[in-house]
């Protein structure tokens, strides 16, 4: 069965790479910085988006594409923050792909937008395999998931420029070592930027905001040149 499936999967991935490259061109022409936020279910993707909207308010114009199998719950959370958001429902699909992003972009007014955040389906496996044209993949790991996750889901760690270790306020109540996460993630990806944060208490988020604003500034500069 695996053999039968391989060529099909390869064709799908190649088609996706072509579409992702088109998306990337469009992002760059607009001078818009784009991140693809991925994690397990419930690691805090939407909470991070809410905090990031608050943290960059008044300085950065944002838009959000929400990916979920079903429901528009997350897009509604973002819209309540006054940021335009469109919801993709994959209807059973376990990841977003480049084509979905192309369609979703048509529902957004991207004029003057500095930062587009794509929130992927909650899944630590499949979303890593599909480029969307984003400039950076950003992953979140909740400390409640444990420090063995880099061993078991290596691709996501290898491909993500940023690792946000979230829910650090829970550390006193669980068996999880941030040092172990850092060591194991570093073995997979030596250039990965790691931030220890709590979206609940706000701890550590300023460093993430600063990293993000620097990236947005660089992309704005490229547009101006």
């Amino acid at each position: 069965m695996a053999q039968v499936n391989v060529p099909v999967v390869r064709n799908i991935l190649q088609a996706n790479e072509r579409i992702a490259a088109e998306n990337r061109k469009r992002f760059d022409e607009a001078g818009m910085y784009v991140i693809n936020v991925m994690s397990s279910p419930g690691a805090g993707k939407t909470s991070l988006l809410e905090k990031t909207i608050d943290g960059l308010a008044g300085r950065v114009k944002m838009a959000v594409i929400e990916g979920d199998i079903q429901s528009s719950y997350d897009a509604e959370r973002i819209q309540r923050k006054g940021v335009q958001a469109v919801q993709i429902n994959t209807d059973g699909g376990c990841h977003l792909d480049g084509n979905m992003i192309q369609i979703a972009m048509d529902s957004l007014d991207l004029d003057g937008v500095d930062l587009l955040i794509i929130e992927n389906v909650g899944n630590l496996v499949c979303p890593a395999e599909f480029n969307l044209g984003e400039h950076d993949k950003v992953m979140i790991l909740s400390v409640a998931e444990g420090d063995d996750k880099p061993l078991k889901y290596p691709l996501m760690f290898q491909l993500s420029s940023v690792l946000l270790v979230n829910k650090i306020d829970l550390l006193p109540y669980i068996d999880c070592s941030i040092e172990t996460i850092r060591e194991r993630a570093h073995q997979l990806n030596g250039t990965q930027q790691v931030f220890e944060v709590s979206c609940r208490t706000g701890e550590g988020l300023e460093a993430w905001f600063a990293w993000l604003e620097n990236k947005i500034r660089e992309q704005r500069k490229a547009r101006a040149e």
Copy 2:
């Protein structure tokens, strides 16, 4: 792209159903009760297995099939408990399928085994779509993932006979309502058995053990008849 993929996916699912039915026949002939344990990464599948091994020690003969993308970390945890375990590495694959179980069974001595536990890849989406021949699908939801999960990952809730709501010792420190989880899960699956547990403190596990032993007893009875 989705259209191109649909017939291939359908064929794969049909082939899998056929193999799953063969597995089921083999399980029943051996009088062995089999569960397929699924959850997001880090919700506590392996911890539940460790606790279940301790809880049923001396009364039930068990074997375990571990599914992970990479590493043999989980099978080693089980073997340290003195239970035979075989590790499947899916090498990137996001779920187990019937064929993998058939191959893994050949590495186990299943003579006299009452309970076979299959621990699936950590993923709240794809594993639900592939029957392995199991008698019951058992899902774990960590309260740290939040009470909106039934809205966003409905298929897993619809198909699982049992929902173990784990890590209830964290409830004082997070924003999550067990009542909301129960209500939303019930809307998707009115016959689902729900257990509130903490694998860390042991709270609530006795009810789960009793449920499991009852199932094993029924299957033994069927074998004897």
